[in-house]
Amino acid sequence: MMRRLTIQVLFCSLIVTLTMPQSLAQSRVAATETLIRNATVLTVTRGTLTNADILIRNGKIVALGKDARAAANAKVIDATGKFVLPGIVDCHSHSMLDTINEGTLSVTSMARTSDVLNPHDIDLYRALAGGVTSLNLLHGSANAIGGLNTVVKIKYGRPAAEMIFPGAMPGIKFALGENPKRSNSQPQPGQTRRYPMTRMGVEETIRDAFTKARDYKKSWDEYQVARSRDKNLVAPRRDLQLEPLVEVLEGKRLVHAHCYRADEILMLINVANDFGFKIKTFQHTLEGYKVAREIAQHGAGASIFADNWAYKIEAYDAIPYNAAIMTRAGVVVSMNSDSDERARRLNIEAAKGMRYGDLTEEEALKLITWNPAVQLGIQQRVGSLEVGKDADLAIWTDHPLSVYARVETTFVDGEIFFDRQQDLAKRPEFLRERAQLEAADPNRPPAGGASPQAPRRRRPTNTDDDLWEGGEQP
């Protein structure tokens, strides 16, 4: 009985926490300026400033250093003894996606994550509470060439359209190895296994798609020329599957490639070189340390886990020194979550980079700020604290690489989207609202009625191989 009670109380408080932000939105004050005073500022690119002020105006950092002068009506936050870190950038997330995989075909470049955004996903609020402000929302890894990504700023409580990261480079998901060859999933009854079923087939699928994309581009180029001569000429069919691949060939779309093994990493580098495009990031890259030099030479980044491995055959050779080894070889490395749960504690993932492989404090912090920003092409706006950049940052109670550190306040574009004190203060109000709602007619449990089932998990908490296609887990 006691245990059940405790669980209920815990659950109750959790629910309250989770439902906060809608009301926070109302209390958000449109202060023209915010001054964060007397903090330890971890700029990431320009060292650590002690007893420093940050002045925010119209969503931008306008002053950084000692004795910043704010307007009389500025909101002033005393951050004495606290730390300010740029907003964390998570380079591999599936939060706020209603579906993750279009798993039917081997090339699904016509699928767009931007079509299935859920701005009310509670995981966004949890990420904010972990100091995360930007996400790279990726399609799953069921296809050699997957769908298009979306980079967002976590403006929780706003419509999805307001969360799209302005000017972020568009990207696309590729996947190599066991997931696209479907070795860990069974075909539906009555269906044949999908091609490809081997790593050779994965390579061929990608080569075939880019060959078609090259032809497609050629047909349009020829049409543009011929049209001036023949007014009655009908334009080629627009192909939403091939158009993104043409953008990749033209360098207008970034490739984020899910991979594990060293051989497949080298394979994709060769394919990219043959077709004349670049891989922007290798995702997971568990054996990246074996081919760090080749990755660096190609100019690709790597976005990895700190210490997560052996969950399938192709993940057996991972080591916790991966981040350090690749960093030393000149690869731009980031730590990602690929998990709604891990997204809340990416600061600890970064700290593991110091524990294993002796990265410096600045290098460790870059794993979750500057480096992922570079990998997404958004480093002009976020990823470090500098005058002129977006005011996407969080105030921490301790140094963020400490296990004791906790986020006090998270800003996106200078606005507060998470505040621990406000969260706590609002809880009684939510309890009152809950009591009212539970008494309302449509919420009354019927006298009889079926017994409820435990709610289904929307996504596995550890989407390590992000094969989940929506619906129930097999």
């Binding site: 279009e102 798993g103 699928a111 449990p445």
Partner: protein
């Protein structure tokens, strides 16, 4: 002149066959009476102010005259309208009325009897020789499938519905709808307008086939609209100058999208939640489609954008409710869920005040148990009666482009009338007369008691049901409560939870029900049709936007349950040590209960004071009583409900200041 002779012969044959063929001429002859007058009635024309005492004259299917002082034709059959109110015929703005229903038994054995054998299986309706797979055929026309008559059309008419939009309910491009009057011997007679709109569901096709995700659905919709644009270009280019150009393929699927792309045919898009509606609107804006939202439970949250874009809503009256019992494992429910259920009833009022045009739809729900009570709930939550009536009549006619001929009581319009005794918008309105195309509809007296036959196949109870969707077996619990030939109840399980609607049980054990379900993260609607024999049931199920499946189930035998229900009905007398959970805090309490003849008395002790129980009662479901407590200096009345199971007690306390739960154990004597 043999040639002339043969021509005459041909003409004669044609004349003879003409005389034999058309049913529409025979109607005029068959129905001797085509003139009616409803006199001394209250008339609500909707297009203008109500006439407190006036007459409506119907002649030859049309409204001949309406007003306070109308000359009554001598040949009119006169209906004394004293105490009656005449409304325009009511619209159900999105249904599948007249469309093929799934057969009650999935694989009817040939010659096995019953009406199931002859009916077609409700697979996705398909067009002939289509270039596209089933579910992606915009050229499918409802009018090709609609059949007159049938139980469902009859049931709708008994609810005062005269006109319905009818469309297929499967697929992504589901097909094009027809507006039908719910009377007539032929499909042709029923149709008021066709096509009205192309219907779009965003539910993926069956698993394993592209598109199998919401992302894929959007990709397919986009690609097909782009292809249609190019199809038009190619056809035009070929028409301008065929010589030297390879003949482009004829493609009726793509051709069917052209009126959609040029805005002459609206698109009815299924969308309930705020984000589903936003996505639908995004797609509509991307391709400049004339969008209409169907479902719209959260449309109030997108009202500004809907008004700005002039997008009407076909608002479903199938409001969400909690259907599961109170259980510590499920409670407290997320605040978001609690809010959604309460907010859904306010949507109609919000759309009205935001001046978004909307019409009501049943969502295939035609049971009186849900239909009018939910309208009443919308009215209790901020919708004016005038706006409610408009959403049932003239607004629907405007959305479907037929307000020049229906939707209000005006001379010259189609004589569709719904006549009530007393108020229309009550939880259980009484229909005195329904006229469709100028002819009265037979109205059955309201079902009150279960017929012997229906009682023979009683559905009341809990059923364990397995639904086979073709790719998976999904288990759920179906709880049914039979009231005459109507069923109430809910589902719970792998398809989510929801309250059933449009549920009925026929004399032979044939039953039908509709319920909102959650499949692969998508909200959709399932219609179960089946047969109930003793403690077994089986049949077929159709999902909006998906391939159909089958189901079978068996009644949860009372054996195991009777033990608990007996203990629930057990004597609660004794002293109970309680834990009262108020918000995050827990308080101790003592409850002394004493069972008396048909009642319950006792004392409740808690940190909020000592109070005697009032109005205590006890039945198989549990006990309830009123109690008073002093909180912050004032006396608050509380309703306490709970149940006893063995030596354990649990229940809830509700009052104007809040809600609490309690659990407890019996004190050993």
């Amino acid at each position: 002149m043999p040639r002339l002779k043969s021509r005459i012969a041909l003409a004669m044959i044609a004349l003879v066959s003409l005389g034999a063929l058309p049913t529409r001429f025979s109607h005029a002859q068959r129905s001797a009476i085509d003139t009616y007058a409803i006199t001394n009635a209250r008339i609500v024309p909707v297009s203008g102010p109500a006439i407190e005492r006036g007459s409506v004259v119907i002649r030859d299917g049309l409204i001949a005259a309406v007003g306070p002082n109308v000359a009554i034709p001598a040949d009119a059959r006169i209906i004394d309208g004293k105490g009656l109110t005449v409304y325009p015929g009511l619209f159900d703005s999105n249904t599948s009325l007249g469309m093929p229903q799934p057969s009650p038994t999935p694989a009817a054995t040939p010659g096995g009897g019953g009406f199931g054998g002859q009916r077609p299986q409700a697979a996705i309706l398909t067009a002939l020789n289509s270039s596209q797979p089933a579910g992606l055929q915009p050229e499918v026309l409802a009018e090709d499938f609609i059949k007159p008559g049938g139980d469902q059309i009859e049931a709708a008419r008994q609810l005062g519905i005269t006109t319905a939009l009818s469309a297929p309910r499967q697929g992504i491009w589901m097909g094009q709808s027809a507006l039908i009057n719910l009377a007539g011997d032929t499909t042709q007679e029923m149709i008021v307008r066709s096509p009205v709109a192309l219907h779009v569901g965003f539910t993926p096709l069956r698993s394993g086939v592209y598109p199998n995700s919401l992302m894929g659905v959007f990709a397919v919709l986009r690609q097909m609209m782009l292809d249609a644009g190019r199809y038009r270009e190619a056809q035009q280019a070929y028409a301008r100058s065929p010589r030297g150009m390879k003949r482009p393929d004829q493609d009726r699927a793509l051709a069917a999208l052209l009126p959609v792309l040029d805005g002459s045919l609206p698109v009815i898009m299924y969308a309930d939640s705020e984000r589903e509606i936003s996505r639908a609107l995004d797609l509509a804006e991307e391709f400049k489609l004339r969008a209409i939202i169907a479902g719209g439970l959260e449309a109030g949250k997108v009202a500004d954008r809907l008004r700005e874009r002039n997008v009407p809503v076909l608002l479903s009256l199938n409001f969400p409710r909690r259907t599961t019992a109170a259980m510590p494992e499920a409670d407290p429910e997320p605040l978001r869920v609690l809010r959604e259920r309460v907010e859904a009833q306010k949507t109609a009022g919000r759309l009205a005040s935001a001046r978004v045009k909307f019409a009501f739809q049943s969502g295939a729900m035609t049971s009186t148990t849900d239909f009018y009570p939910n309208i009443a709930r919308a009215i209790e939550n901020g919708l004016s009666r005038e706006d409610a009536l408009r959403a049932f009549t003239l607004s629907a006619a405007e959305i479907f482009g037929v307000n020049d001929r229906m939707g209000s009581i005006e001379a010259g319009k189609i004589a569709n009338l719904t006549v009530t005794r007393g108020e229309l918008f009550t939880r259980n309105p009484t229909f005195a007369h329904v006229f469709i195309d100028g002819r009265p509809v037979d109205l059955k007296p309201a079902t009150t008691v279960a017929t012997d036959a229906a009682a023979a196949a009683t559905a009341t109870g809990s059923w364990t049901v397995t639904v086979n969707t073709g790719s998976a077996d999904l288990n759920m619990t179906l709880v049914l409560q039979q009231e005459g030939d109507r069923l109430r109840g809910s589902i719970q399980g792998a398809l989510g939870s929801g309250e059933i609607s449009n549920a009925s049980l026929g004399p032979g054990g044939d039953f039908r029900l509709t319920v909102p379900v959650n499949l692969d993260g998508q909200t959709t609607e399932a219609s179960f049709t089946g047969k109930l024999t003793g403690n077994e049931m089986q049949g077929s199920v159709t999902f909006v936007g998906r391939a159909p499946g089958t189901f079978s189930g068996s009644r949860v035998q009372p054996g195991s349950e009777s033990a608990t229900s007996k203990t629930q009905g057990a004597d609660p007398s004794g002293t109970w040590l309680l834990n009262l959970m108020v918000g995050l805090k827990t308080y101790p309490g003592t409850l002394k209960l004493e069972q008396q003849q048909g009642g319950l008395s006792g004392v409740l002790q808690s940190p909020f004071g000592v109070t005697k129980l009032e109005s205590g009662s006890l039945d198989d479901e549990g006990f309830r009583f009123l109690a008073r407590a002093r909180v912050e200096g004032r006396v608050v009345e509380m309703t306490v409900e709970g149940s006893v199971s063995g030596e354990e007690i649990r229940g809830t306390v509700r009052s104007e200041i809040g809600f609490a739960r309690f659990t407890g154990t019996r004190q050993k004597s």
